[in-house]
Protein backbone atom coordinates (compact mmCIF):
# COMPACT_ATOMS: atom_id res chain seq x y z
CA UNK A 1 0.00 0.00 0.00
CA UNK A 2 1.37 3.39 -0.95
CA UNK A 3 0.08 6.88 -0.68
CA UNK A 4 0.78 9.12 -3.59
CA UNK A 5 0.16 12.84 -4.04
CA UNK A 6 0.45 14.17 -7.58
CA UNK A 7 0.73 17.93 -8.01
CA UNK A 8 -1.82 18.50 -5.30
CA UNK A 9 -2.80 22.10 -4.64
CA UNK A 10 -5.42 24.00 -2.74
CA UNK A 11 -6.39 27.50 -3.73
CA UNK A 12 -8.63 29.77 -1.67
CA UNK A 13 -9.49 33.26 -2.96
CA UNK A 14 -6.68 33.16 -5.51
CA UNK A 15 -4.15 32.25 -2.87
CA UNK A 16 -2.33 28.94 -2.87
CA UNK A 17 -2.42 27.37 0.59
CA UNK A 18 -0.47 24.42 -0.74
CA UNK A 19 0.81 24.21 -4.27
CA UNK A 20 2.10 21.49 -6.51
CA UNK A 21 2.74 18.88 -3.83
CA UNK A 22 4.11 15.67 -5.22
CA UNK A 23 5.26 12.91 -2.93
CA UNK A 24 5.02 9.20 -2.36
CA UNK A 25 4.85 7.55 1.02
CA UNK A 26 5.67 3.88 0.87
CA UNK A 27 4.14 1.04 2.80
CA UNK A 28 5.64 0.88 6.26
CA UNK A 29 7.09 4.36 5.93
CA UNK A 30 6.63 7.33 8.19
CA UNK A 31 7.01 10.67 6.47
CA UNK A 32 7.14 13.78 8.61
CA UNK A 33 5.80 17.09 7.34
CA UNK A 34 7.57 19.96 9.02
CA UNK A 35 7.59 23.70 8.52
CA UNK A 36 6.77 26.93 10.28
CA UNK A 37 3.14 27.57 11.23
CA UNK A 38 0.97 28.48 8.27
CA UNK A 39 3.14 26.60 5.79
CA UNK A 40 0.31 24.26 4.80
CA UNK A 41 1.17 21.12 6.79
CA UNK A 42 -2.27 20.67 8.31
CA UNK A 43 -3.97 21.59 5.04
CA UNK A 44 -2.03 18.84 3.31
CA UNK A 45 -3.35 16.32 5.84
CA UNK A 46 -6.89 17.61 5.40
CA UNK A 47 -6.58 17.20 1.64
CA UNK A 48 -5.45 13.60 2.06
CA UNK A 49 -8.26 12.89 4.53
CA UNK A 50 -10.79 14.49 2.19
CA UNK A 51 -11.84 17.10 4.74
CA UNK A 52 -11.03 19.87 2.25
CA UNK A 53 -11.36 19.52 -1.54
CA UNK A 54 -8.23 19.76 -3.68
CA UNK A 55 -8.06 22.46 -6.35
CA UNK A 56 -5.56 20.64 -8.54
CA UNK A 57 -3.85 17.28 -8.75
CA UNK A 58 -4.79 13.87 -7.44
CA UNK A 59 -4.45 11.71 -4.35
CA UNK A 60 -3.98 7.96 -4.77
CA UNK A 61 -3.79 5.03 -2.42
CA UNK A 62 -2.15 2.00 -3.98
CA UNK A 63 -2.92 3.32 -7.43
CA UNK A 64 -6.60 3.90 -6.64
CA UNK A 65 -7.64 7.49 -7.23
CA UNK A 66 -9.41 8.82 -4.14
CA UNK A 67 -9.29 12.52 -5.04
CA UNK A 68 -13.04 12.99 -5.18
CA UNK A 69 -14.10 10.52 -2.49
CA UNK A 70 -15.65 11.75 0.76
CA UNK A 71 -13.76 11.25 4.03
CA UNK A 72 -16.11 8.38 4.86
CA UNK A 73 -15.21 6.55 1.65
CA UNK A 74 -11.47 6.93 2.12
CA UNK A 75 -9.81 4.72 4.62
CA UNK A 76 -7.72 7.08 6.71
CA UNK A 77 -7.05 7.06 10.43
CA UNK A 78 -6.47 10.53 11.73
CA UNK A 79 -5.25 11.77 15.09
CA UNK A 80 -6.02 15.42 15.73
CA UNK A 81 -3.98 17.88 17.71
CA UNK A 82 -6.83 18.46 20.15
CA UNK A 83 -7.69 14.69 20.08
CA UNK A 84 -11.28 15.63 19.12
CA UNK A 85 -12.93 13.22 21.54
CA UNK A 86 -16.64 13.77 22.15
CA UNK A 87 -17.00 15.20 25.67
CA UNK A 88 -20.47 13.77 26.30
CA UNK A 89 -19.48 10.17 25.58
CA UNK A 90 -17.17 7.97 27.60
CA UNK A 91 -14.06 6.33 26.18
CA UNK A 92 -15.89 3.16 25.13
CA UNK A 93 -18.72 5.08 23.44
CA UNK A 94 -16.26 7.39 21.71
CA UNK A 95 -14.55 4.38 20.16
CA UNK A 96 -17.83 2.57 19.48
CA UNK A 97 -19.42 5.38 17.46
CA UNK A 98 -17.42 4.92 14.27
CA UNK A 99 -17.73 1.13 14.38
CA UNK A 100 -21.48 1.37 14.86
CA UNK A 101 -21.82 3.75 11.92
CA UNK A 102 -19.78 1.37 9.78
CA UNK A 103 -22.17 -1.44 10.67
CA UNK A 104 -20.03 -3.60 12.92
CA UNK A 105 -22.08 -5.95 15.12
CA UNK A 106 -22.36 -5.28 18.85
CA UNK A 107 -20.31 -8.33 19.80
CA UNK A 108 -17.54 -7.58 17.37
CA UNK A 109 -17.50 -3.94 18.49
CA UNK A 110 -16.98 -4.89 22.11
CA UNK A 111 -14.20 -7.35 21.35
CA UNK A 112 -12.42 -4.95 19.04
CA UNK A 113 -12.59 -2.07 21.50
CA UNK A 114 -11.41 -4.36 24.28
CA UNK A 115 -8.46 -5.38 22.14
CA UNK A 116 -7.43 -1.85 21.16
CA UNK A 117 -7.88 -0.49 24.69
CA UNK A 118 -5.68 -3.28 25.99
CA UNK A 119 -3.12 -2.27 23.39
CA UNK A 120 -3.06 1.33 24.59
CA UNK A 121 -3.41 0.17 28.21
CA UNK A 122 -6.64 2.01 28.92
CA UNK A 123 -9.20 -0.80 29.33
CA UNK A 124 -9.66 0.22 32.96
CA UNK A 125 -10.68 3.74 31.85
CA UNK A 126 -13.31 2.58 29.33
CA UNK A 127 -16.17 4.12 31.34
CA UNK A 128 -14.50 7.48 31.93
CA UNK A 129 -15.38 10.64 30.09
CA UNK A 130 -12.51 12.39 28.26
CA UNK A 131 -12.54 15.19 30.85
CA UNK A 132 -11.56 12.65 33.50
CA UNK A 133 -8.45 11.56 31.60
CA UNK A 134 -4.98 13.09 31.51
CA UNK A 135 -3.62 14.60 28.30
CA UNK A 136 -1.53 11.52 27.56
CA UNK A 137 -4.49 9.20 28.09
CA UNK A 138 -6.71 11.28 25.82
CA UNK A 139 -4.04 11.12 23.17
CA UNK A 140 -3.98 7.33 23.44
CA UNK A 141 -7.78 7.17 23.10
CA UNK A 142 -7.57 9.30 19.96
CA UNK A 143 -4.91 6.93 18.68
CA UNK A 144 -7.06 3.93 19.55
CA UNK A 145 -9.89 5.42 17.51
CA UNK A 146 -7.59 5.78 14.50
CA UNK A 147 -6.41 2.16 14.94
CA UNK A 148 -10.00 0.88 15.10
CA UNK A 149 -10.64 2.45 11.72
CA UNK A 150 -8.17 -0.13 10.31
CA UNK A 151 -7.15 2.45 7.75
CA UNK A 152 -4.91 2.26 4.72
CA UNK A 153 -3.14 5.45 5.73
CA UNK A 154 -2.39 7.05 9.08
CA UNK A 155 -2.42 10.82 9.43
CA UNK A 156 -1.11 12.32 12.65
CA UNK A 157 -1.64 16.06 13.05
CA UNK A 158 0.74 17.33 15.74
CA UNK A 159 -0.33 14.46 17.95
CA UNK A 160 1.98 15.41 20.79
CA UNK A 161 1.99 19.19 20.78
CA UNK A 162 -0.49 19.39 23.66
CA UNK A 163 1.70 17.26 25.92
CA UNK A 164 4.56 18.49 28.06
CA UNK A 165 8.14 17.81 27.00
CA UNK A 166 8.80 14.91 29.36
CA UNK A 167 5.59 13.10 28.43
CA UNK A 168 6.33 13.59 24.75
CA UNK A 169 9.63 11.81 25.12
CA UNK A 170 7.95 8.99 27.05
CA UNK A 171 5.18 8.54 24.51
CA UNK A 172 7.40 8.57 21.43
CA UNK A 173 8.45 4.91 21.66
CA UNK A 174 4.85 3.92 22.33
CA UNK A 175 3.62 5.88 19.34
CA UNK A 176 6.23 4.18 17.19
CA UNK A 177 5.16 0.79 18.51
CA UNK A 178 1.45 1.41 17.96
CA UNK A 179 1.38 3.21 14.63
CA UNK A 180 4.53 2.25 12.81
CA UNK A 181 4.00 -1.44 13.49
CA UNK A 182 0.79 -1.28 11.50
CA UNK A 183 3.08 -1.12 8.46
CA UNK A 184 0.95 1.42 6.69
CA UNK A 185 1.97 4.70 5.08
CA UNK A 186 2.01 7.29 7.85
CA UNK A 187 2.21 11.05 7.67
CA UNK A 188 3.29 12.80 10.79
CA UNK A 189 2.80 16.56 10.95
CA UNK A 190 4.83 18.50 13.45
CA UNK A 191 6.46 21.87 13.83
CA UNK A 192 9.15 20.29 15.98
CA UNK A 193 12.04 19.22 13.75
CA UNK A 194 13.50 17.22 16.62
CA UNK A 195 10.33 15.09 16.87
CA UNK A 196 10.27 14.70 13.10
CA UNK A 197 13.82 13.34 13.06
CA UNK A 198 12.98 10.95 15.89
CA UNK A 199 9.82 9.54 14.32
CA UNK A 200 10.23 9.58 10.57
CA UNK A 201 12.34 7.84 7.97
CA UNK A 202 11.95 10.78 5.65
CA UNK A 203 11.05 14.41 6.25
CA UNK A 204 9.35 16.85 3.92
CA UNK A 205 10.13 20.47 4.71
CA UNK A 206 7.29 22.77 3.68
CA UNK A 207 7.65 26.49 3.09
CA UNK A 208 4.71 28.68 2.10
CA UNK A 209 2.76 25.74 0.74
CA UNK A 210 5.56 24.24 -1.31
CA UNK A 211 7.90 21.39 -0.62
CA UNK A 212 11.44 22.69 -0.19
CA UNK A 213 13.01 19.28 0.17
CA UNK A 214 12.06 15.69 0.92
CA UNK A 215 14.87 13.58 2.24
CA UNK A 216 16.18 11.48 5.09
CA UNK A 217 16.92 13.31 8.33
CA UNK A 218 20.65 12.77 7.69
CA UNK A 219 20.58 14.32 4.25
CA UNK A 220 18.40 17.23 5.32
CA UNK A 221 20.93 18.05 7.97
CA UNK A 222 24.09 17.57 5.95
CA UNK A 223 22.92 18.39 2.44
CA UNK A 224 20.14 20.97 2.70
CA UNK A 225 19.02 22.16 -0.72
CA UNK A 226 18.26 25.69 0.45
CA UNK A 227 19.02 28.18 3.16
CA UNK A 228 15.47 27.72 4.48
CA UNK A 229 15.98 24.00 5.04
CA UNK A 230 19.43 24.55 6.52
CA UNK A 231 18.02 27.03 9.00
CA UNK A 232 14.92 24.98 9.82
CA UNK A 233 16.68 21.69 10.45
CA UNK A 234 19.22 21.48 13.25
CA UNK A 235 19.39 23.16 16.65
CA UNK A 236 21.33 25.26 17.49
CA UNK A 237 20.78 26.91 14.14
CA UNK A 238 23.33 26.86 11.37
CA UNK A 239 25.68 29.90 11.14
CA UNK A 240 25.15 31.98 8.03
CA UNK A 241 28.11 34.09 7.04
CA UNK A 242 27.97 36.58 4.24
CA UNK A 243 30.98 36.28 2.00
CA UNK A 244 32.74 38.92 -0.14
CA UNK A 245 31.48 37.31 -3.35
CA UNK A 246 27.86 37.79 -2.26
CA UNK A 247 27.28 34.12 -1.35
CA UNK A 248 26.12 32.88 2.02
CA UNK A 249 28.28 30.31 3.73
CA UNK A 250 26.48 27.98 6.10
CA UNK A 251 28.50 26.26 8.80
CA UNK A 252 26.98 24.02 11.48
CA UNK A 253 27.87 25.11 15.04
CA UNK A 254 29.61 21.82 15.85
CA UNK A 255 31.94 22.13 12.81
CA UNK A 256 33.66 25.27 14.06
CA UNK A 257 36.91 24.93 15.99
CA UNK A 258 39.27 27.24 17.85
CA UNK A 259 42.62 27.67 16.15
CA UNK A 260 45.67 29.93 15.81
CA UNK A 261 44.48 31.73 12.71
CA UNK A 262 41.19 32.56 10.97
CA UNK A 263 38.19 34.66 11.88
CA UNK A 264 38.72 36.52 15.15
CA UNK A 265 35.91 36.89 17.65
CA UNK A 266 34.90 37.84 21.15
CA UNK A 267 32.87 35.74 23.59
CA UNK A 268 29.43 37.24 24.04
CA UNK A 269 27.67 34.58 26.11
CA UNK A 270 27.58 30.87 26.73
CA UNK A 271 24.87 28.32 27.48
CA UNK A 272 25.50 25.02 29.21
CA UNK A 273 23.63 22.18 27.56
CA UNK A 274 24.92 19.41 29.82
CA UNK A 275 26.81 17.30 27.35
CA UNK A 276 28.11 20.36 25.49
CA UNK A 277 28.27 24.10 25.67
CA UNK A 278 26.90 26.61 23.23
CA UNK A 279 29.05 29.69 22.74
CA UNK A 280 27.92 32.92 21.14
CA UNK A 281 30.86 34.76 19.60
CA UNK A 282 30.82 38.22 18.16
CA UNK A 283 32.79 38.48 14.93
CA UNK A 284 33.08 40.86 12.00
CA UNK A 285 30.62 38.62 10.17
CA UNK A 286 28.01 38.72 12.89
CA UNK A 287 27.28 36.45 15.84
CA UNK A 288 28.54 32.90 15.42
CA UNK A 289 27.23 29.93 17.39
CA UNK A 290 29.65 27.19 18.36
CA UNK A 291 28.92 23.84 19.95
CA UNK A 292 31.92 22.85 21.98
CA UNK A 293 32.61 20.00 24.39
CA UNK A 294 31.90 21.03 28.00
CA UNK A 295 35.57 20.82 29.00
CA UNK A 296 36.63 23.14 26.15
CA UNK A 297 38.71 26.02 27.51
CA UNK A 298 38.19 29.34 25.82
CA UNK A 299 41.42 30.90 24.57
CA UNK A 300 42.17 34.55 25.21
CA UNK A 301 42.69 35.36 21.55
CA UNK A 302 39.78 33.69 19.86
CA UNK A 303 40.36 32.57 16.26
CA UNK A 304 37.84 30.40 14.46
CA UNK A 305 38.23 27.93 11.65
CA UNK A 306 36.39 25.07 9.98
CA UNK A 307 37.05 22.55 7.29
CA UNK A 308 36.11 23.53 3.75
CA UNK A 309 33.91 20.44 3.36
CA UNK A 310 31.80 21.52 6.33
CA UNK A 311 30.86 24.69 4.54
CA UNK A 312 27.65 24.86 2.50
CA UNK A 313 27.32 27.66 -0.06
CA UNK A 314 24.01 29.33 -0.83
CA UNK A 315 22.99 31.95 -3.34
CA UNK A 316 22.27 35.05 -1.28
CA UNK A 317 19.32 36.14 -3.43
CA UNK A 318 17.45 32.91 -4.14
CA UNK A 319 18.55 31.09 -0.98
CA UNK A 320 19.27 28.03 -3.11
CA UNK A 321 22.30 25.86 -2.64
CA UNK A 322 25.27 26.37 -4.97
CA UNK A 323 27.10 23.30 -6.10
CA UNK A 324 30.34 22.94 -4.26
Amino acid sequence: MTLELRQVGRNINNQWIVENLTMTVADNECLALVGPSGCGKSTTLRLIAGLDPVSTGSVQISGRDITTLSPAERSVGMVFQSYALLPHLNVFENLELGLRIRGVSKRERTSKIRQVLDLVQLWNRANNRPAELSGGQRQRVALARALLREPEVYLLDEPMSNLDAQLREDIRPELRRLVLEQRKPTIYVTHDQHEAMAMAQRIAVLNEGKIEQIDTPYNLYHNPCSLFVARFIGRPQINCLKDESGHIRGVRPEAIRFSDSGLSGKLQSREWLGNSQLLFLETQQGVIRIMAPPEQAIPEQIRLTWRAEDEILFNAETGLRLSR
Binding site: A49, A72, G77, F80, A84, I101, R145
Partner: protein, 288 residues
Protein backbone atom coordinates in the same frame (compact mmCIF):
# COMPACT_ATOMS: atom_id res chain seq x y z
CA UNK B 1 -5.38 42.19 61.11
CA UNK B 2 -4.73 45.17 63.35
CA UNK B 3 -1.17 45.32 62.11
CA UNK B 4 -2.06 45.26 58.46
CA UNK B 5 -3.73 48.62 57.97
CA UNK B 6 -4.15 48.33 54.24
CA UNK B 7 -5.72 44.93 54.55
CA UNK B 8 -8.16 46.12 57.19
CA UNK B 9 -9.14 49.09 55.07
CA UNK B 10 -9.69 47.05 51.96
CA UNK B 11 -11.58 44.55 54.10
CA UNK B 12 -13.86 47.37 55.20
CA UNK B 13 -14.28 48.49 51.64
CA UNK B 14 -15.15 45.02 50.38
CA UNK B 15 -17.58 44.64 53.29
CA UNK B 16 -19.24 47.89 52.31
CA UNK B 17 -19.30 46.76 48.70
CA UNK B 18 -20.94 43.53 49.72
CA UNK B 19 -23.56 45.39 51.73
CA UNK B 20 -24.24 47.65 48.76
CA UNK B 21 -24.52 44.62 46.49
CA UNK B 22 -26.93 42.96 48.89
CA UNK B 23 -29.04 46.09 49.04
CA UNK B 24 -29.11 46.25 45.24
CA UNK B 25 -30.16 42.63 44.98
CA UNK B 26 -32.96 43.10 47.51
CA UNK B 27 -34.15 46.26 45.75
CA UNK B 28 -34.10 44.42 42.44
CA UNK B 29 -36.07 41.51 43.88
CA UNK B 30 -38.70 43.85 45.31
CA UNK B 31 -38.87 45.66 41.99
CA UNK B 32 -39.44 42.53 39.96
CA UNK B 33 -41.23 40.27 42.43
CA UNK B 34 -43.36 42.95 44.08
CA UNK B 35 -46.09 43.02 41.43
CA UNK B 36 -46.18 39.22 41.38
CA UNK B 37 -46.53 39.08 45.15
CA UNK B 38 -49.29 41.68 44.92
CA UNK B 39 -51.11 39.56 42.33
CA UNK B 40 -50.73 36.48 44.52
CA UNK B 41 -52.10 38.41 47.51
CA UNK B 42 -55.00 39.79 45.49
CA UNK B 43 -55.94 36.36 44.17
CA UNK B 44 -56.54 35.06 47.68
CA UNK B 45 -58.38 38.14 49.04
CA UNK B 46 -62.12 38.59 49.23
CA UNK B 47 -63.49 41.52 47.26
CA UNK B 48 -64.30 43.18 50.56
CA UNK B 49 -60.72 42.92 51.75
CA UNK B 50 -59.44 44.35 48.49
CA UNK B 51 -61.32 47.62 48.73
CA UNK B 52 -60.78 48.06 52.47
CA UNK B 53 -57.31 46.66 53.01
CA UNK B 54 -56.89 47.96 56.57
CA UNK B 55 -60.30 47.17 58.02
CA UNK B 56 -60.58 44.14 60.26
CA UNK B 57 -62.82 41.66 58.51
CA UNK B 58 -64.25 38.31 59.51
CA UNK B 59 -63.36 36.88 56.19
CA UNK B 60 -60.17 38.16 54.56
CA UNK B 61 -58.89 35.04 52.74
CA UNK B 62 -60.81 33.09 50.13
CA UNK B 63 -60.46 30.66 47.26
CA UNK B 64 -63.57 31.90 45.54
CA UNK B 65 -61.68 33.64 42.72
CA UNK B 66 -59.90 30.44 41.84
CA UNK B 67 -63.18 28.57 41.88
CA UNK B 68 -64.85 31.09 39.60
CA UNK B 69 -61.93 31.05 37.18
CA UNK B 70 -61.63 27.27 37.09
CA UNK B 71 -65.39 26.70 36.81
CA UNK B 72 -66.00 29.21 34.05
CA UNK B 73 -67.24 28.02 30.70
CA UNK B 74 -65.08 26.87 28.99
CA UNK B 75 -62.91 26.09 32.04
CA UNK B 76 -59.79 28.17 32.38
CA UNK B 77 -57.60 25.03 32.19
CA UNK B 78 -58.70 24.78 28.59
CA UNK B 79 -56.89 28.06 27.76
CA UNK B 80 -53.85 26.79 29.56
CA UNK B 81 -53.77 23.76 27.32
CA UNK B 82 -54.43 25.89 24.24
CA UNK B 83 -51.44 28.07 25.07
CA UNK B 84 -49.33 25.04 25.89
CA UNK B 85 -50.25 23.48 22.56
CA UNK B 86 -49.52 26.62 20.55
CA UNK B 87 -46.29 27.10 22.49
CA UNK B 88 -45.03 23.58 21.97
CA UNK B 89 -45.91 23.54 18.26
CA UNK B 90 -44.31 26.92 17.62
CA UNK B 91 -41.19 25.95 19.60
CA UNK B 92 -40.76 22.69 17.72
CA UNK B 93 -41.39 24.43 14.40
CA UNK B 94 -38.90 27.17 15.25
CA UNK B 95 -36.18 24.72 16.22
CA UNK B 96 -36.77 22.51 13.19
CA UNK B 97 -36.12 25.51 10.96
CA UNK B 98 -33.55 27.35 13.05
CA UNK B 99 -31.15 24.47 13.76
CA UNK B 100 -30.30 23.63 10.13
CA UNK B 101 -30.31 27.34 9.24
CA UNK B 102 -27.86 28.25 11.97
CA UNK B 103 -25.63 25.28 11.15
CA UNK B 104 -25.29 26.48 7.58
CA UNK B 105 -24.84 30.07 8.74
CA UNK B 106 -21.99 28.99 11.02
CA UNK B 107 -20.31 27.31 8.02
CA UNK B 108 -20.54 30.34 5.74
CA UNK B 109 -17.64 32.66 5.07
CA UNK B 110 -17.17 35.56 7.46
CA UNK B 111 -18.54 38.25 5.17
CA UNK B 112 -21.70 36.52 4.03
CA UNK B 113 -22.36 35.33 7.59
CA UNK B 114 -22.12 38.92 8.79
CA UNK B 115 -24.48 40.05 6.07
CA UNK B 116 -27.11 37.48 7.01
CA UNK B 117 -26.68 38.18 10.71
CA UNK B 118 -27.30 41.89 10.11
CA UNK B 119 -30.46 41.00 8.19
CA UNK B 120 -31.60 38.79 11.05
CA UNK B 121 -30.92 41.48 13.64
CA UNK B 122 -32.91 43.89 11.48
CA UNK B 123 -35.82 41.43 11.48
CA UNK B 124 -35.52 40.89 15.22
CA UNK B 125 -35.67 44.65 15.84
CA UNK B 126 -38.74 45.16 13.65
CA UNK B 127 -41.82 45.88 15.82
CA UNK B 128 -43.95 42.89 14.99
CA UNK B 129 -47.18 44.59 16.01
CA UNK B 130 -46.95 46.48 12.71
CA UNK B 131 -47.26 43.15 10.94
CA UNK B 132 -50.44 41.93 12.49
CA UNK B 133 -52.88 43.55 10.08
CA UNK B 134 -51.03 42.02 7.16
CA UNK B 135 -50.90 38.69 8.95
CA UNK B 136 -54.61 38.89 9.57
CA UNK B 137 -55.22 39.37 5.85
CA UNK B 138 -53.08 36.35 5.09
CA UNK B 139 -54.85 34.29 7.71
CA UNK B 140 -58.21 35.26 6.26
CA UNK B 141 -57.12 34.49 2.71
CA UNK B 142 -55.70 31.07 3.67
CA UNK B 143 -58.54 30.43 6.12
CA UNK B 144 -56.16 29.90 9.00
CA UNK B 145 -58.34 31.65 11.58
CA UNK B 146 -59.40 29.80 14.74
CA UNK B 147 -56.66 27.22 14.50
CA UNK B 148 -53.96 26.90 17.11
CA UNK B 149 -51.62 25.07 14.74
CA UNK B 150 -51.94 27.92 12.26
CA UNK B 151 -51.20 30.38 15.07
CA UNK B 152 -47.88 28.61 15.60
CA UNK B 153 -46.77 29.58 12.09
CA UNK B 154 -46.42 33.35 12.69
CA UNK B 155 -45.01 32.61 16.14
CA UNK B 156 -42.29 30.43 14.68
CA UNK B 157 -41.59 32.99 11.98
CA UNK B 158 -41.29 35.84 14.47
CA UNK B 159 -39.03 33.82 16.76
CA UNK B 160 -36.79 32.74 13.91
CA UNK B 161 -34.26 35.64 13.95
CA UNK B 162 -33.49 35.37 17.65
CA UNK B 163 -33.36 31.56 17.54
CA UNK B 164 -31.04 31.53 14.53
CA UNK B 165 -28.70 34.10 16.07
CA UNK B 166 -28.46 32.23 19.38
CA UNK B 167 -27.92 28.84 17.74
CA UNK B 168 -25.42 30.16 15.20
CA UNK B 169 -23.24 31.36 18.05
CA UNK B 170 -23.53 27.95 19.69
CA UNK B 171 -22.50 26.18 16.47
CA UNK B 172 -19.54 28.48 15.86
CA UNK B 173 -18.35 27.98 19.43
CA UNK B 174 -17.89 24.24 18.82
CA UNK B 175 -14.32 23.17 18.04
CA UNK B 176 -14.34 22.30 14.30
CA UNK B 177 -12.06 19.31 14.87
CA UNK B 178 -14.91 17.43 16.56
CA UNK B 179 -16.91 17.43 13.37
CA UNK B 180 -13.84 16.74 11.24
CA UNK B 181 -13.08 13.67 13.35
CA UNK B 182 -16.65 12.48 12.90
CA UNK B 183 -16.37 12.95 9.15
CA UNK B 184 -13.19 10.89 9.05
CA UNK B 185 -15.02 8.22 11.06
CA UNK B 186 -17.60 8.11 8.30
CA UNK B 187 -20.57 9.93 9.85
CA UNK B 188 -23.00 11.57 7.43
CA UNK B 189 -24.43 15.03 8.09
CA UNK B 190 -27.50 13.62 9.83
CA UNK B 191 -25.41 11.21 11.87
CA UNK B 192 -23.14 14.08 12.88
CA UNK B 193 -26.21 16.01 14.03
CA UNK B 194 -27.46 13.05 16.02
CA UNK B 195 -24.16 12.06 17.65
CA UNK B 196 -21.99 15.16 17.73
CA UNK B 197 -23.68 18.49 17.11
CA UNK B 198 -27.05 18.27 18.87
CA UNK B 199 -25.71 16.82 22.13
CA UNK B 200 -23.02 19.49 22.25
CA UNK B 201 -25.31 22.45 21.63
CA UNK B 202 -28.19 21.11 23.74
CA UNK B 203 -27.81 23.90 26.34
CA UNK B 204 -28.24 26.51 23.61
CA UNK B 205 -31.20 24.60 22.18
CA UNK B 206 -32.86 24.48 25.61
CA UNK B 207 -32.43 28.20 26.22
CA UNK B 208 -33.63 29.06 22.72
CA UNK B 209 -36.65 26.80 23.15
CA UNK B 210 -37.60 28.53 26.38
CA UNK B 211 -37.34 31.99 24.88
CA UNK B 212 -39.51 30.96 21.94
CA UNK B 213 -42.01 29.29 24.23
CA UNK B 214 -42.16 32.40 26.44
CA UNK B 215 -42.84 34.58 23.42
CA UNK B 216 -45.74 32.46 22.23
CA UNK B 217 -47.07 32.11 25.79
CA UNK B 218 -47.24 35.88 26.20
CA UNK B 219 -48.19 36.90 22.67
CA UNK B 220 -51.40 38.93 22.51
CA UNK B 221 -52.22 40.90 19.31
CA UNK B 222 -51.92 38.06 16.80
CA UNK B 223 -53.76 35.62 19.03
CA UNK B 224 -56.49 38.22 19.55
CA UNK B 225 -57.06 38.76 15.85
CA UNK B 226 -56.59 35.21 14.56
CA UNK B 227 -58.77 33.47 17.07
CA UNK B 228 -62.36 34.28 17.93
CA UNK B 229 -63.74 30.87 18.87
CA UNK B 230 -63.80 30.94 22.67
CA UNK B 231 -62.75 27.27 22.83
CA UNK B 232 -59.52 28.08 21.00
CA UNK B 233 -58.42 31.18 22.89
CA UNK B 234 -54.90 31.39 24.26
CA UNK B 235 -54.15 32.49 27.77
CA UNK B 236 -53.41 36.23 27.28
CA UNK B 237 -56.59 36.74 25.26
CA UNK B 238 -58.67 34.74 27.71
CA UNK B 239 -57.29 36.78 30.59
CA UNK B 240 -58.08 40.01 28.81
CA UNK B 241 -61.62 38.75 28.42
CA UNK B 242 -61.88 38.15 32.15
CA UNK B 243 -60.62 41.66 32.80
CA UNK B 244 -63.16 43.15 30.43
CA UNK B 245 -66.08 40.86 31.25
CA UNK B 246 -68.05 43.48 33.15
CA UNK B 247 -68.64 47.10 32.27
CA UNK B 248 -69.30 48.25 35.82
CA UNK B 249 -66.41 46.80 37.74
CA UNK B 250 -62.96 45.35 37.23
CA UNK B 251 -62.86 41.77 38.49
CA UNK B 252 -59.53 42.11 40.26
CA UNK B 253 -59.78 38.84 42.14
CA UNK B 254 -60.50 36.44 39.25
CA UNK B 255 -58.01 38.28 37.07
CA UNK B 256 -55.28 37.85 39.67
CA UNK B 257 -56.16 34.19 40.12
CA UNK B 258 -55.93 33.67 36.35
CA UNK B 259 -52.53 35.36 36.30
CA UNK B 260 -51.24 33.10 39.04
CA UNK B 261 -52.49 29.96 37.32
CA UNK B 262 -51.06 31.14 34.00
CA UNK B 263 -47.63 31.74 35.54
CA UNK B 264 -47.24 28.34 37.18
CA UNK B 265 -46.25 26.37 34.03
CA UNK B 266 -43.65 29.02 33.18
CA UNK B 267 -42.16 28.96 36.64
CA UNK B 268 -41.87 25.17 36.50
CA UNK B 269 -40.35 25.34 33.02
CA UNK B 270 -37.73 27.90 33.96
CA UNK B 271 -36.85 26.10 37.19
CA UNK B 272 -36.29 22.84 35.35
CA UNK B 273 -34.17 24.41 32.62
CA UNK B 274 -32.54 27.15 34.66
CA UNK B 275 -29.00 25.89 34.22
CA UNK B 276 -29.01 25.47 30.44
CA UNK B 277 -30.73 28.85 30.04
CA UNK B 278 -28.02 30.69 31.90
CA UNK B 279 -25.16 28.82 30.25
CA UNK B 280 -26.78 29.11 26.82
CA UNK B 281 -27.30 32.84 27.16
CA UNK B 282 -23.77 33.48 28.39
CA UNK B 283 -22.01 31.40 25.72
CA UNK B 284 -23.82 33.49 23.15
CA UNK B 285 -22.90 36.63 25.03
CA UNK B 286 -19.17 35.97 25.26
CA UNK B 287 -18.79 35.31 21.56
CA UNK B 288 -20.99 38.30 20.74
Amino acid sequence: MARDHGGAKSGCRSLRKMKAARFMIIALLIWSLGPLAWQLYTSFCTDQALVTPFASLDQRWTLVHYQSVLNSNPPFIRYLFNSLFAGVVSTVLTLLLAIPASYSLSKLGKRSALFFKCLLIGCALFPYVLLFLALLEIARYLQLGNSLIALAIPYAALSQPLAVLLLTNAFSDLPPELEDAARVEGLSVLQRFRWVLLPLISPAIASTAILVFLFSWNEYPIALTWISDSDQLTLPVAMARIAGSSIHSVPYGPYAAATVIGSIPLIILVMVFQKPIVSGLTTGAIKG
